[in-house]
Symmetry: C2
Subunit: 229 residues, 2 copies
């Protein structure tokens, strides 16, 4: 997926009065696909399975969606149909924290969305609206637009990465470093072994450092912006 999706999001979708009226709708299809992905995972979203859920034929879906890849992109954008949650306060710091948390919350509510978020894709109207809303608020606290965008992206990048271990469930830090259980192996990686040793370290825990790391990233941004004034 990735390019030439201009038509997908922004193309003319009006219908002349003529012709058989649609029984299916793009919105309904996308919503059902999201429901499947939420309940059974993204890999269970097949055109066949989806059509069965909707009580339609497989090929009918293609009247409303160009193909599977595009469907997935629409699914992702639909997750941002609700307006961006309000920040606690209109300070630079709170705005950036709110952005990071909004992204995190969306992804933890829909774990399958992470792989879409980190793929090459074009931006849909809902994602654009989220971005525009935060840019507007940063503008209100006198952030230059392009710097504001960079701040948002930097927080975004961190959030996408830091959410991954939290989503993976079984892939907690214990699972990730399971190979260290074997002495013949962990002796090859002494520092890794010491770091992962349970209980040996106090704070912060490895598999829940989202807030901690987010704070660090926002610190860096805040300092730069203040010093640039």
């Amino acid at each position: 997926m990735g390019q030439g999706e201009y038509e997908l999001f922004w193309g003319d979708r009006s219908r002349p009065g003529r012709g058989r009226p649609p029984g299916l709708s793009r919105e309904g299809i996308v919503a059902e696909a999201v429901a499947i992905a939420d309940a059974e995972g993204l890999q269970k979203v097949s055109m066949k399975h989806l059509a069965e859920r909707l009580g339609s034929g497989v090929m009918s879906l293609y009247r409303h969606v160009p193909g599977k890849d595009e469907l997935v992109i629409l699914m992702y954008d639909s997750l941002m149909a609700e307006p961006l949650p309000e920040p606690e306060a209109d300070t630079l710091r709170d705005l950036l924290l709110a952005w990071g948390r909004a992204v995190k919350d969306m992804l933890t509510a829909h774990p399958w969305a992470l792989k879409v978020a980190t793929s090459h894709r074009s931006m849909g109207p809902n994602e654009a609206a989220w971005l525009d809303a935060t840019l507007a608020r940063l503008d209100a606290v006198d952030m230059p637009p392009r710097l504001a965008m960079i701040a948002i992206l930097t927080v975004d990048y961190f959030a996408l990465g830091a959410v991954r271990p939290e989503i993976g469930g079984s892939e907690s830090s214990e699972e990730l470093f399971r190979f260290l259980a074997d002495p013949a192996v962990n002796s090859r990686f002494p520092h890794l072994a010491r770091m992962a040793a349970p209980g040996s370290q106090p704070e912060p825990p490895l598999d829940d450092h989202f807030e901690f790391g987010l704070g660090l990233v926002v610190d860096g941004l805040e300092r730069y912006i203040e010093s640039a004034r």
Copy 2:
């Protein structure tokens, strides 16, 4: 992909003297798969195509690799077979910058690897060695192990995200915001439009803010660590 790959990386792969000697090797298969991915993209790495390149039958590959998913994981780990590049200096800052740049360089050299890096997967020996090397150096400048790990991960998350636009080629910021060209559309996103307006902003450019953003992230980490002392 994602769990139960302990055997893949750490299982016993010794061969008794008996039996037909292998004509193929896991290393050769993985190397050829990497060559295909580098030249034609990851989606062109099929068992069929790979077998043709190697002059072997498709099913022969399965004697050396459990399956396609595992092959991709092996491909990724093989990218870190070379030891981690040396940092410019052994300071906290340079060590973290070096980590971020090493990750970026690996991913720009092998664009297909980004999607593997951001999928749920287990860690292989080469990746573990990279991590251990940086943990060792951070230990040498008195970073507590777990905090060191968090610093590395935070830089890693940023790097994985920030590399994405640079890799996407066609997906430069111009392409990403192409929908803003339509006045009927961009009026819905005024702040986005102003931010993306070409030439209106001086520095830094959107599609090459890796170093800039990396510096900000490392700043945040550095400040925290210094203040914690």
